[in-house]
Assembly symmetry: C2
Homo-oligomer: 307 residues x 2
Protein backbone atom coordinates (compact mmCIF):
# COMPACT_ATOMS: atom_id res chain seq x y z
CA UNK A 1 0.00 0.00 0.00
CA UNK A 2 1.07 3.63 -0.41
CA UNK A 3 3.08 5.30 2.33
CA UNK A 4 3.58 9.05 2.60
CA UNK A 5 6.00 10.88 4.89
CA UNK A 6 6.29 14.59 5.54
CA UNK A 7 9.39 15.76 7.35
CA UNK A 8 12.81 17.27 6.97
CA UNK A 9 15.57 16.65 4.49
CA UNK A 10 18.77 18.07 5.87
CA UNK A 11 22.50 18.27 5.66
CA UNK A 12 23.96 17.09 8.94
CA UNK A 13 27.45 17.72 10.24
CA UNK A 14 28.11 15.13 12.87
CA UNK A 15 31.03 14.25 15.08
CA UNK A 16 31.19 11.01 17.09
CA UNK A 17 33.92 8.85 18.61
CA UNK A 18 34.06 7.07 15.24
CA UNK A 19 34.77 10.15 13.15
CA UNK A 20 33.05 13.10 11.51
CA UNK A 21 30.87 13.88 8.51
CA UNK A 22 30.21 17.35 7.10
CA UNK A 23 26.98 18.14 5.22
CA UNK A 24 25.94 14.50 5.04
CA UNK A 25 22.44 13.63 3.91
CA UNK A 26 20.10 13.53 6.90
CA UNK A 27 16.78 14.71 8.24
CA UNK A 28 13.74 12.85 9.58
CA UNK A 29 12.12 12.29 6.18
CA UNK A 30 15.39 11.03 4.70
CA UNK A 31 16.02 8.39 7.36
CA UNK A 32 12.34 7.42 7.42
CA UNK A 33 11.99 7.03 3.68
CA UNK A 34 15.26 5.19 3.13
CA UNK A 35 14.42 2.77 5.96
CA UNK A 36 10.83 2.18 4.84
CA UNK A 37 11.92 1.73 1.22
CA UNK A 38 13.16 -1.75 2.13
CA UNK A 39 9.55 -2.73 2.76
CA UNK A 40 7.33 -0.61 0.51
CA UNK A 41 7.10 2.26 -1.94
CA UNK A 42 7.36 5.57 -0.10
CA UNK A 43 6.59 9.15 -1.15
CA UNK A 44 8.36 12.00 0.57
CA UNK A 45 7.07 15.55 1.02
CA UNK A 46 9.84 17.91 2.08
CA UNK A 47 11.75 21.00 1.03
CA UNK A 48 15.35 21.32 -0.13
CA UNK A 49 17.46 24.32 -1.05
CA UNK A 50 19.03 25.03 -4.40
CA UNK A 51 22.32 23.83 -2.92
CA UNK A 52 20.98 20.28 -2.70
CA UNK A 53 23.24 17.97 -4.65
CA UNK A 54 22.00 15.99 -7.61
CA UNK A 55 24.03 13.09 -6.26
CA UNK A 56 21.93 13.16 -3.08
CA UNK A 57 18.71 13.17 -5.11
CA UNK A 58 20.09 10.20 -6.95
CA UNK A 59 20.74 8.43 -3.63
CA UNK A 60 17.07 8.75 -2.72
CA UNK A 61 16.00 7.63 -6.19
CA UNK A 62 18.25 4.59 -5.89
CA UNK A 63 16.00 3.49 -3.02
CA UNK A 64 13.03 3.93 -5.37
CA UNK A 65 11.73 6.72 -3.15
CA UNK A 66 9.21 8.97 -4.91
CA UNK A 67 10.71 12.47 -4.59
CA UNK A 68 8.31 14.23 -6.95
CA UNK A 69 7.01 16.21 -3.95
CA UNK A 70 10.46 17.20 -2.79
CA UNK A 71 10.19 20.91 -3.55
CA UNK A 72 13.25 23.01 -4.22
CA UNK A 73 13.29 26.59 -2.92
CA UNK A 74 15.95 29.23 -3.37
CA UNK A 75 18.33 29.27 -0.45
CA UNK A 76 20.19 26.62 1.46
CA UNK A 77 18.97 23.24 2.67
CA UNK A 78 18.22 22.83 6.39
CA UNK A 79 21.43 22.23 8.31
CA UNK A 80 22.10 20.64 11.67
CA UNK A 81 25.43 20.28 13.42
CA UNK A 82 25.95 18.13 16.48
CA UNK A 83 28.58 16.32 18.49
CA UNK A 84 28.23 13.09 20.42
CA UNK A 85 30.18 12.50 23.61
CA UNK A 86 33.17 10.33 22.72
CA UNK A 87 32.81 8.19 25.84
CA UNK A 88 29.00 8.03 26.03
CA UNK A 89 27.22 7.99 22.70
CA UNK A 90 23.89 8.65 24.43
CA UNK A 91 24.97 12.21 25.19
CA UNK A 92 24.84 14.72 22.37
CA UNK A 93 25.07 18.46 21.98
CA UNK A 94 23.58 20.50 19.17
CA UNK A 95 26.17 23.02 17.98
CA UNK A 96 24.18 24.73 15.26
CA UNK A 97 20.78 24.65 13.60
CA UNK A 98 20.08 26.60 10.40
CA UNK A 99 16.48 26.28 9.26
CA UNK A 100 17.23 27.96 5.90
CA UNK A 101 14.53 26.98 3.35
CA UNK A 102 12.80 24.94 6.04
CA UNK A 103 11.71 28.17 7.75
CA UNK A 104 9.05 28.76 5.09
CA UNK A 105 8.27 25.13 4.37
CA UNK A 106 4.69 24.72 3.23
CA UNK A 107 3.93 21.07 2.52
CA UNK A 108 1.86 20.66 -0.65
CA UNK A 109 0.50 17.24 -1.45
CA UNK A 110 -0.08 16.04 -4.98
CA UNK A 111 -3.47 14.53 -5.75
CA UNK A 112 -2.09 11.02 -5.56
CA UNK A 113 -0.35 11.74 -2.24
CA UNK A 114 -3.68 12.89 -0.81
CA UNK A 115 -4.93 9.33 -1.34
CA UNK A 116 -2.10 7.64 0.58
CA UNK A 117 -3.11 4.68 2.72
CA UNK A 118 -0.51 5.30 5.40
CA UNK A 119 0.81 8.65 6.57
CA UNK A 120 3.77 9.45 8.78
CA UNK A 121 4.11 12.94 10.18
CA UNK A 122 7.81 13.04 11.03
CA UNK A 123 9.32 15.41 13.57
CA UNK A 124 8.53 18.91 12.23
CA UNK A 125 6.43 21.83 13.50
CA UNK A 126 2.96 20.66 14.64
CA UNK A 127 1.20 23.22 12.40
CA UNK A 128 2.96 21.72 9.37
CA UNK A 129 1.93 18.25 10.50
CA UNK A 130 -1.66 19.55 10.70
CA UNK A 131 -1.40 21.23 7.29
CA UNK A 132 -0.38 17.89 5.84
CA UNK A 133 -3.12 15.85 7.46
CA UNK A 134 -5.88 18.30 6.50
CA UNK A 135 -4.89 18.01 2.84
CA UNK A 136 -5.64 14.29 2.74
CA UNK A 137 -8.67 13.65 0.53
CA UNK A 138 -9.42 10.42 2.38
CA UNK A 139 -8.57 9.48 5.95
CA UNK A 140 -5.51 7.21 5.81
CA UNK A 141 -5.78 3.80 7.45
CA UNK A 142 -3.06 4.87 9.86
CA UNK A 143 -1.72 8.30 10.68
CA UNK A 144 1.38 8.20 12.88
CA UNK A 145 3.25 11.12 14.36
CA UNK A 146 6.69 11.72 15.80
CA UNK A 147 7.82 14.84 17.63
CA UNK A 148 10.55 16.14 19.92
CA UNK A 149 11.09 18.06 23.15
CA UNK A 150 11.22 21.46 21.42
CA UNK A 151 7.59 21.20 20.24
CA UNK A 152 6.47 19.78 23.58
CA UNK A 153 8.08 22.62 25.50
CA UNK A 154 7.17 25.57 23.28
CA UNK A 155 4.26 24.52 21.03
CA UNK A 156 2.23 22.24 23.25
CA UNK A 157 -1.17 23.54 22.20
CA UNK A 158 -0.54 23.04 18.48
CA UNK A 159 1.07 19.70 19.20
CA UNK A 160 -1.91 18.52 21.26
CA UNK A 161 -4.28 19.55 18.45
CA UNK A 162 -2.55 17.31 15.94
CA UNK A 163 -1.94 14.44 18.39
CA UNK A 164 -5.73 14.34 18.94
CA UNK A 165 -6.13 13.36 15.30
CA UNK A 166 -3.55 10.60 14.91
CA UNK A 167 -3.68 6.85 15.49
CA UNK A 168 -0.12 6.16 16.55
CA UNK A 169 2.10 8.44 18.59
CA UNK A 170 5.87 8.03 18.75
CA UNK A 171 7.69 9.67 21.65
CA UNK A 172 10.74 8.84 23.67
CA UNK A 173 10.35 8.14 27.38
CA UNK A 174 11.53 11.59 28.44
CA UNK A 175 9.26 13.30 25.93
CA UNK A 176 6.14 11.42 26.97
CA UNK A 177 6.82 12.13 30.65
CA UNK A 178 7.33 15.79 29.84
CA UNK A 179 4.20 15.96 27.68
CA UNK A 180 1.89 14.12 30.08
CA UNK A 181 3.45 14.99 33.43
CA UNK A 182 3.58 11.27 34.24
CA UNK A 183 6.84 9.42 34.87
CA UNK A 184 5.11 6.03 35.01
CA UNK A 185 4.85 4.91 31.39
CA UNK A 186 1.52 3.11 31.86
CA UNK A 187 0.01 6.29 33.31
CA UNK A 188 1.61 8.37 30.55
CA UNK A 189 0.20 6.08 27.85
CA UNK A 190 -3.28 6.34 29.40
CA UNK A 191 -3.10 10.13 29.21
CA UNK A 192 -2.26 9.90 25.51
CA UNK A 193 -5.12 7.46 24.91
CA UNK A 194 -7.48 9.98 26.50
CA UNK A 195 -6.34 12.56 23.94
CA UNK A 196 -6.84 10.32 20.93
CA UNK A 197 -4.15 7.91 19.74
CA UNK A 198 -4.95 4.25 20.36
CA UNK A 199 -1.33 3.19 19.94
CA UNK A 200 1.60 4.70 21.80
CA UNK A 201 5.13 3.70 20.86
CA UNK A 202 7.62 4.78 23.50
CA UNK A 203 11.21 4.78 22.28
CA UNK A 204 13.87 4.24 24.92
CA UNK A 205 17.01 4.30 22.77
CA UNK A 206 19.43 1.60 23.89
CA UNK A 207 16.73 0.23 26.21
CA UNK A 208 14.38 -0.62 23.36
CA UNK A 209 10.73 0.14 22.83
CA UNK A 210 7.45 -0.34 24.61
CA UNK A 211 4.16 -0.25 22.72
CA UNK A 212 0.74 0.28 24.28
CA UNK A 213 -1.94 -0.73 21.79
CA UNK A 214 -5.60 -0.76 22.84
CA UNK A 215 -4.92 -2.39 26.19
CA UNK A 216 -2.11 -4.59 24.95
CA UNK A 217 1.51 -4.10 26.03
CA UNK A 218 4.52 -5.19 23.99
CA UNK A 219 8.19 -4.67 24.78
CA UNK A 220 11.15 -5.00 22.44
CA UNK A 221 14.82 -4.64 23.35
CA UNK A 222 17.32 -2.69 21.36
CA UNK A 223 19.88 -4.98 19.80
CA UNK A 224 23.15 -4.43 21.68
CA UNK A 225 25.59 -2.99 19.14
CA UNK A 226 29.31 -3.22 19.84
CA UNK A 227 30.35 -0.46 17.50
CA UNK A 228 27.90 2.43 17.42
CA UNK A 229 29.11 4.78 14.70
CA UNK A 230 26.43 7.49 14.74
CA UNK A 231 23.07 7.38 16.54
CA UNK A 232 21.60 10.18 14.38
CA UNK A 233 18.41 9.06 12.68
CA UNK A 234 17.90 5.91 14.75
CA UNK A 235 14.37 6.95 15.78
CA UNK A 236 13.36 7.92 12.23
CA UNK A 237 14.82 4.70 10.84
CA UNK A 238 12.88 2.80 13.51
CA UNK A 239 9.68 4.57 12.47
CA UNK A 240 10.47 3.88 8.81
CA UNK A 241 10.82 0.15 9.42
CA UNK A 242 7.66 0.14 11.54
CA UNK A 243 5.46 2.03 9.07
CA UNK A 244 7.07 0.44 6.02
CA UNK A 245 6.32 -3.01 7.36
CA UNK A 246 2.69 -2.10 8.14
CA UNK A 247 2.21 -0.55 4.70
CA UNK A 248 3.78 -3.59 3.03
CA UNK A 249 1.55 -6.05 4.88
CA UNK A 250 -1.51 -3.77 5.03
CA UNK A 251 -2.35 -5.39 8.34
CA UNK A 252 -3.04 -3.29 11.43
CA UNK A 253 -3.78 -6.18 13.79
CA UNK A 254 -2.06 -6.15 17.15
CA UNK A 255 0.02 -9.17 16.18
CA UNK A 256 1.25 -7.39 13.09
CA UNK A 257 2.01 -4.16 14.96
CA UNK A 258 4.26 -6.23 17.23
CA UNK A 259 6.17 -7.52 14.23
CA UNK A 260 6.33 -3.96 12.91
CA UNK A 261 8.01 -2.94 16.18
CA UNK A 262 10.68 -5.56 15.58
CA UNK A 263 11.03 -4.51 11.92
CA UNK A 264 11.55 -0.96 13.15
CA UNK A 265 14.04 -2.11 15.77
CA UNK A 266 15.97 -3.98 13.08
CA UNK A 267 16.23 -0.86 10.92
CA UNK A 268 17.12 1.37 13.89
CA UNK A 269 19.90 -1.01 14.90
CA UNK A 270 21.31 -0.83 11.37
CA UNK A 271 21.11 2.95 11.09
CA UNK A 272 23.49 3.51 14.00
CA UNK A 273 26.18 1.34 12.44
CA UNK A 274 27.04 4.06 9.95
CA UNK A 275 27.09 7.81 9.49
CA UNK A 276 24.15 9.37 7.65
CA UNK A 277 22.34 6.70 5.62
CA UNK A 278 25.59 4.92 4.78
CA UNK A 279 24.66 1.64 6.46
CA UNK A 280 21.63 1.24 4.20
CA UNK A 281 23.83 1.35 1.12
CA UNK A 282 23.81 -2.12 -0.44
CA UNK A 283 21.83 -3.47 2.52
CA UNK A 284 20.23 -6.75 1.47
CA UNK A 285 17.02 -8.46 2.50
CA UNK A 286 19.17 -11.29 3.81
CA UNK A 287 20.95 -8.92 6.17
CA UNK A 288 17.57 -7.63 7.38
CA UNK A 289 16.35 -11.18 7.95
CA UNK A 290 19.58 -12.09 9.76
CA UNK A 291 19.08 -9.21 12.10
CA UNK A 292 15.42 -10.12 12.59
CA UNK A 293 16.68 -13.55 13.65
CA UNK A 294 18.98 -11.88 16.16
CA UNK A 295 15.95 -10.24 17.76
CA UNK A 296 14.23 -13.61 17.97
CA UNK A 297 17.37 -15.05 19.51
CA UNK A 298 17.98 -12.44 22.20
CA UNK A 299 14.35 -12.46 23.39
CA UNK A 300 13.53 -16.18 23.39
CA UNK A 301 13.04 -18.36 26.44
CA UNK A 302 11.26 -21.62 27.15
CA UNK A 303 7.72 -20.82 28.16
CA UNK A 304 6.84 -23.79 30.34
CA UNK A 305 6.10 -22.91 33.97
CA UNK A 306 8.78 -21.92 36.47
CA UNK A 307 7.40 -23.01 39.86
CA UNK B 1 19.85 -28.13 45.61
CA UNK B 2 21.12 -26.06 48.53
CA UNK B 3 21.34 -22.30 48.19
CA UNK B 4 23.29 -20.06 50.53
CA UNK B 5 23.18 -16.28 50.74
CA UNK B 6 25.36 -13.94 52.74
CA UNK B 7 24.23 -10.36 53.02
CA UNK B 8 22.47 -7.83 55.18
CA UNK B 9 19.34 -8.06 57.30
CA UNK B 10 18.15 -4.58 58.07
CA UNK B 11 15.41 -2.37 59.32
CA UNK B 12 14.46 0.09 56.60
CA UNK B 13 12.56 3.31 57.00
CA UNK B 14 11.18 4.20 53.62
CA UNK B 15 9.05 6.98 52.24
CA UNK B 16 7.50 6.83 48.75
CA UNK B 17 4.54 8.44 46.98
CA UNK B 18 2.47 5.51 48.27
CA UNK B 19 3.25 6.05 51.97
CA UNK B 20 5.88 5.33 54.58
CA UNK B 21 7.20 2.45 56.66
CA UNK B 22 9.41 2.75 59.73
CA UNK B 23 11.81 -0.01 60.74
CA UNK B 24 10.36 -2.46 58.25
CA UNK B 25 12.19 -5.70 57.56
CA UNK B 26 14.68 -5.21 54.74
CA UNK B 27 18.26 -5.81 53.66
CA UNK B 28 19.77 -7.64 50.71
CA UNK B 29 19.77 -11.08 52.34
CA UNK B 30 16.14 -10.67 53.45
CA UNK B 31 14.79 -9.82 50.00
CA UNK B 32 16.99 -12.44 48.37
CA UNK B 33 16.03 -15.25 50.71
CA UNK B 34 12.31 -14.50 50.77
CA UNK B 35 12.24 -14.31 46.97
CA UNK B 36 14.29 -17.47 46.42
CA UNK B 37 12.24 -19.37 49.03
CA UNK B 38 9.45 -19.66 46.44
CA UNK B 39 11.75 -21.90 44.41
CA UNK B 40 14.09 -23.68 46.79
CA UNK B 41 15.34 -24.07 50.34
CA UNK B 42 17.63 -21.17 51.24
CA UNK B 43 20.09 -20.63 54.09
CA UNK B 44 20.93 -17.13 55.17
CA UNK B 45 24.16 -15.94 56.79
CA UNK B 46 23.78 -12.47 58.30
CA UNK B 47 23.92 -10.56 61.55
CA UNK B 48 21.08 -8.98 63.54
CA UNK B 49 21.06 -6.88 66.70
CA UNK B 50 19.42 -7.77 69.97
CA UNK B 51 16.60 -5.41 69.01
CA UNK B 52 15.54 -7.75 66.20
CA UNK B 53 11.93 -8.72 66.71
CA UNK B 54 10.89 -12.32 67.22
CA UNK B 55 7.96 -11.58 64.91
CA UNK B 56 10.43 -10.77 62.12
CA UNK B 57 12.32 -13.99 62.73
CA UNK B 58 9.01 -15.75 62.49
CA UNK B 59 8.33 -14.06 59.15
CA UNK B 60 11.54 -15.52 57.74
CA UNK B 61 10.76 -18.94 59.21
CA UNK B 62 7.31 -18.80 57.62
CA UNK B 63 9.09 -18.83 54.26
CA UNK B 64 10.98 -21.94 55.45
CA UNK B 65 14.23 -19.98 55.31
CA UNK B 66 17.02 -21.55 57.35
CA UNK B 67 18.08 -18.82 59.79
CA UNK B 68 20.34 -20.95 61.97
CA UNK B 69 23.30 -18.86 60.78
CA UNK B 70 21.60 -15.58 61.48
CA UNK B 71 23.84 -14.49 64.35
CA UNK B 72 22.62 -12.09 67.01
CA UNK B 73 25.08 -9.55 68.40
CA UNK B 74 24.55 -7.01 71.13
CA UNK B 75 23.55 -3.66 69.71
CA UNK B 76 21.05 -2.55 67.09
CA UNK B 77 20.26 -4.10 63.74
CA UNK B 78 21.57 -2.34 60.62
CA UNK B 79 19.28 0.55 59.71
CA UNK B 80 18.72 2.39 56.43
CA UNK B 81 16.46 5.35 55.84
CA UNK B 82 15.58 6.65 52.39
CA UNK B 83 13.03 8.67 50.50
CA UNK B 84 11.87 8.17 46.92
CA UNK B 85 10.89 11.12 44.78
CA UNK B 86 7.09 11.34 44.80
CA UNK B 87 6.89 12.11 41.08
CA UNK B 88 9.72 9.88 39.84
CA UNK B 89 10.17 6.64 41.74
CA UNK B 90 13.52 6.05 40.02
CA UNK B 91 15.06 8.88 42.06
CA UNK B 92 15.93 8.16 45.67
CA UNK B 93 17.90 9.80 48.43
CA UNK B 94 19.52 8.05 51.38
CA UNK B 95 18.76 10.03 54.53
CA UNK B 96 20.56 7.88 57.06
CA UNK B 97 22.65 4.72 57.30
CA UNK B 98 23.50 3.14 60.67
CA UNK B 99 25.72 0.09 60.33
CA UNK B 100 25.28 -0.85 64.02
CA UNK B 101 26.05 -4.59 64.52
CA UNK B 102 26.83 -4.84 60.81
CA UNK B 103 30.05 -2.89 61.38
CA UNK B 104 31.70 -5.92 62.96
CA UNK B 105 29.91 -8.56 60.91
CA UNK B 106 32.05 -11.65 60.52
CA UNK B 107 30.26 -14.27 58.47
CA UNK B 108 30.72 -17.75 59.91
CA UNK B 109 29.47 -20.69 57.91
CA UNK B 110 28.25 -23.88 59.51
CA UNK B 111 29.68 -27.13 58.20
CA UNK B 112 26.58 -27.82 56.16
CA UNK B 113 26.58 -24.30 54.71
CA UNK B 114 30.16 -24.84 53.56
CA UNK B 115 28.82 -27.58 51.30
CA UNK B 116 26.19 -25.43 49.57
CA UNK B 117 25.73 -26.08 45.87
CA UNK B 118 24.87 -22.48 45.03
CA UNK B 119 26.18 -19.34 46.71
CA UNK B 120 25.01 -15.77 46.43
CA UNK B 121 27.24 -13.02 47.78
CA UNK B 122 24.74 -10.20 48.23
CA UNK B 123 25.71 -6.55 48.32
CA UNK B 124 28.06 -6.24 51.32
CA UNK B 125 31.72 -5.31 51.75
CA UNK B 126 33.94 -7.19 49.26
CA UNK B 127 36.20 -8.51 52.05
CA UNK B 128 33.18 -10.11 53.73
CA UNK B 129 32.17 -11.63 50.40
CA UNK B 130 35.70 -13.03 50.16
CA UNK B 131 35.61 -14.32 53.75
CA UNK B 132 32.45 -16.20 52.90
CA UNK B 133 33.72 -17.76 49.70
CA UNK B 134 37.01 -18.90 51.22
CA UNK B 135 35.13 -20.81 53.93
CA UNK B 136 33.43 -23.06 51.40
CA UNK B 137 34.73 -26.63 51.75
CA UNK B 138 33.84 -27.39 48.14
CA UNK B 139 33.59 -25.02 45.20
CA UNK B 140 29.88 -24.32 44.66
CA UNK B 141 28.46 -25.04 41.21
CA UNK B 142 27.70 -21.35 40.90
CA UNK B 143 28.97 -18.40 42.88
CA UNK B 144 27.16 -15.15 42.07
CA UNK B 145 27.90 -11.69 43.39
CA UNK B 146 26.04 -8.42 43.65
CA UNK B 147 27.56 -5.09 44.66
CA UNK B 148 26.91 -1.36 44.56
CA UNK B 149 28.51 1.96 43.62
CA UNK B 150 30.00 2.51 47.10
CA UNK B 151 32.26 -0.56 46.82
CA UNK B 152 33.13 0.26 43.20
CA UNK B 153 34.15 3.81 44.09
CA UNK B 154 36.00 3.20 47.33
CA UNK B 155 36.98 -0.49 47.51
CA UNK B 156 37.71 -1.35 43.92
CA UNK B 157 40.78 -3.46 44.63
CA UNK B 158 39.01 -5.71 47.12
CA UNK B 159 35.99 -5.85 44.89
CA UNK B 160 38.07 -6.86 41.87
CA UNK B 161 39.74 -9.62 43.91
CA UNK B 162 36.42 -11.25 44.71
CA UNK B 163 34.88 -10.66 41.27
CA UNK B 164 37.83 -12.62 39.83
CA UNK B 165 36.56 -15.68 41.68
CA UNK B 166 32.85 -15.68 40.86
CA UNK B 167 30.86 -17.14 37.99
CA UNK B 168 28.04 -14.65 37.73
CA UNK B 169 28.27 -10.93 38.31
CA UNK B 170 25.22 -8.75 38.94
CA UNK B 171 25.61 -5.01 38.40
CA UNK B 172 23.34 -2.27 37.22
CA UNK B 173 24.20 -0.44 34.00
CA UNK B 174 25.67 2.58 35.77
CA UNK B 175 27.74 0.40 38.08
CA UNK B 176 29.25 -1.70 35.30
CA UNK B 177 30.12 1.42 33.31
CA UNK B 178 31.73 2.93 36.38
CA UNK B 179 33.61 -0.28 37.21
CA UNK B 180 34.87 -0.98 33.69
CA UNK B 181 35.11 2.53 32.26
CA UNK B 182 32.99 1.37 29.31
CA UNK B 183 29.58 2.88 28.53
CA UNK B 184 28.88 0.34 25.78
CA UNK B 185 27.46 -2.70 27.59
CA UNK B 186 29.00 -5.23 25.21
CA UNK B 187 32.42 -3.70 25.83
CA UNK B 188 31.75 -3.54 29.57
CA UNK B 189 30.72 -7.21 29.66
CA UNK B 190 33.90 -8.17 27.79
CA UNK B 191 36.01 -6.40 30.42
CA UNK B 192 34.26 -8.39 33.14
CA UNK B 193 34.79 -11.66 31.25
CA UNK B 194 38.51 -10.86 31.11
CA UNK B 195 38.51 -10.61 34.92
CA UNK B 196 36.76 -13.90 35.49
CA UNK B 197 32.96 -14.18 35.51
CA UNK B 198 31.52 -15.99 32.48
CA UNK B 199 28.04 -14.60 33.06
CA UNK B 200 27.23 -10.92 33.48
CA UNK B 201 23.73 -9.87 34.44
CA UNK B 202 23.20 -6.15 33.90
CA UNK B 203 20.17 -4.79 35.72
CA UNK B 204 18.55 -1.72 34.19
CA UNK B 205 15.64 -1.20 36.57
CA UNK B 206 12.48 -0.29 34.68
CA UNK B 207 14.31 -1.07 31.43
CA UNK B 208 14.81 -4.72 32.31
CA UNK B 209 17.89 -6.89 32.21
CA UNK B 210 20.54 -7.95 29.75
CA UNK B 211 22.58 -11.10 30.28
CA UNK B 212 25.88 -11.91 28.62
CA UNK B 213 26.64 -15.60 29.03
CA UNK B 214 29.65 -17.16 27.30
CA UNK B 215 29.03 -15.33 24.03
CA UNK B 216 25.27 -15.49 24.24
CA UNK B 217 23.13 -12.38 24.73
CA UNK B 218 19.66 -12.39 26.29
CA UNK B 219 17.42 -9.44 27.03
CA UNK B 220 14.37 -9.32 29.28
CA UNK B 221 12.08 -6.35 29.82
CA UNK B 222 10.84 -5.22 33.18
CA UNK B 223 7.11 -5.76 33.49
CA UNK B 224 5.48 -2.32 33.37
CA UNK B 225 3.84 -1.81 36.75
CA UNK B 226 1.09 0.78 37.07
CA UNK B 227 1.35 1.19 40.82
CA UNK B 228 4.91 1.03 42.09
CA UNK B 229 4.69 1.11 45.89
CA UNK B 230 8.35 0.79 46.91
CA UNK B 231 11.31 -0.11 44.66
CA UNK B 232 13.51 -1.08 47.63
CA UNK B 233 14.79 -4.63 47.28
CA UNK B 234 13.82 -5.07 43.63
CA UNK B 235 17.37 -6.04 42.63
CA UNK B 236 17.80 -8.48 45.52
CA UNK B 237 14.39 -10.02 44.82
CA UNK B 238 15.41 -10.36 41.18
CA UNK B 239 18.61 -12.12 42.21
CA UNK B 240 16.62 -14.33 44.60
CA UNK B 241 14.29 -15.47 41.85
CA UNK B 242 17.22 -16.01 39.48
CA UNK B 243 19.36 -18.05 41.89
CA UNK B 244 16.37 -19.79 43.47
CA UNK B 245 15.23 -21.00 40.08
CA UNK B 246 18.72 -22.25 39.17
CA UNK B 247 19.10 -24.05 42.50
CA UNK B 248 15.65 -25.62 42.15
CA UNK B 249 16.33 -26.91 38.64
CA UNK B 250 20.04 -27.58 39.19
CA UNK B 251 20.58 -26.71 35.56
CA UNK B 252 23.18 -24.15 34.52
CA UNK B 253 22.62 -24.44 30.77
CA UNK B 254 22.24 -21.22 28.84
CA UNK B 255 18.60 -22.01 28.12
CA UNK B 256 17.93 -22.43 31.82
CA UNK B 257 19.79 -19.25 32.76
CA UNK B 258 17.46 -17.40 30.39
CA UNK B 259 14.44 -18.79 32.22
CA UNK B 260 16.12 -17.86 35.50
CA UNK B 261 16.34 -14.27 34.27
CA UNK B 262 12.59 -14.29 33.71
CA UNK B 263 11.99 -15.94 37.10
CA UNK B 264 14.05 -13.15 38.65
CA UNK B 265 12.17 -10.51 36.68
CA UNK B 266 8.89 -11.96 37.92
CA UNK B 267 10.00 -11.73 41.55
CA UNK B 268 11.45 -8.24 41.10
CA UNK B 269 8.19 -7.03 39.57
CA UNK B 270 6.30 -8.38 42.59
CA UNK B 271 8.66 -6.89 45.17
CA UNK B 272 7.97 -3.32 44.09
CA UNK B 273 4.23 -3.72 44.49
CA UNK B 274 4.55 -3.53 48.29
CA UNK B 275 6.67 -2.06 51.05
CA UNK B 276 9.33 -4.27 52.59
CA UNK B 277 8.56 -7.94 51.83
CA UNK B 278 4.80 -7.37 52.14
CA UNK B 279 3.96 -8.36 48.58
CA UNK B 280 5.42 -11.83 49.14
CA UNK B 281 3.00 -12.45 51.99
CA UNK B 282 0.51 -15.11 50.87
CA UNK B 283 1.98 -15.00 47.36
CA UNK B 284 0.95 -18.19 45.57
CA UNK B 285 2.60 -20.26 42.87
CA UNK B 286 -0.38 -19.45 40.68
CA UNK B 287 0.34 -15.75 40.98
CA UNK B 288 3.97 -16.39 40.05
CA UNK B 289 2.91 -18.43 37.03
CA UNK B 290 0.41 -15.75 36.00
CA UNK B 291 3.14 -13.18 36.04
CA UNK B 292 5.48 -15.50 34.15
CA UNK B 293 2.74 -15.66 31.50
CA UNK B 294 2.67 -11.88 31.39
CA UNK B 295 6.37 -11.92 30.51
CA UNK B 296 5.68 -14.39 27.73
CA UNK B 297 2.85 -12.19 26.52
CA UNK B 298 4.69 -8.86 26.45
CA UNK B 299 7.72 -10.29 24.63
CA UNK B 300 6.10 -12.52 22.00
CA UNK B 301 5.96 -11.88 18.28
CA UNK B 302 5.54 -14.02 15.20
CA UNK B 303 8.94 -15.15 14.07
CA UNK B 304 8.41 -15.65 10.34
CA UNK B 305 10.45 -13.33 8.11
CA UNK B 306 9.68 -9.65 7.64
CA UNK B 307 10.95 -8.82 4.17
Amino acid sequence: MTLLVVGSVAYDSVSTAAGTRDDALGGSATYFSVSSSFFTKVNVVAVIGDDFLESDKKKLLDYKIDISNLSTESGNTFRWKGVYDTSDVNIRETLDTQLNVFENFNPILSNSNKQSDYLFLANIAPDLQMKTLTQMSKRPKIVALDTMNFWIDDHKKDLTSIIEKVDILFMDNKEISSFTGETNLIAAARRIEEIGPSTIVIKKGEHGVIMFNKGDVFTAPALPIANVIDPTGAGDSFAGGFMGYIAKTNDTSNENLRRAIIAGSVMGSLAIEGFSIERFNKLTKNEIEDRFSRFIDITSFKTTGIT
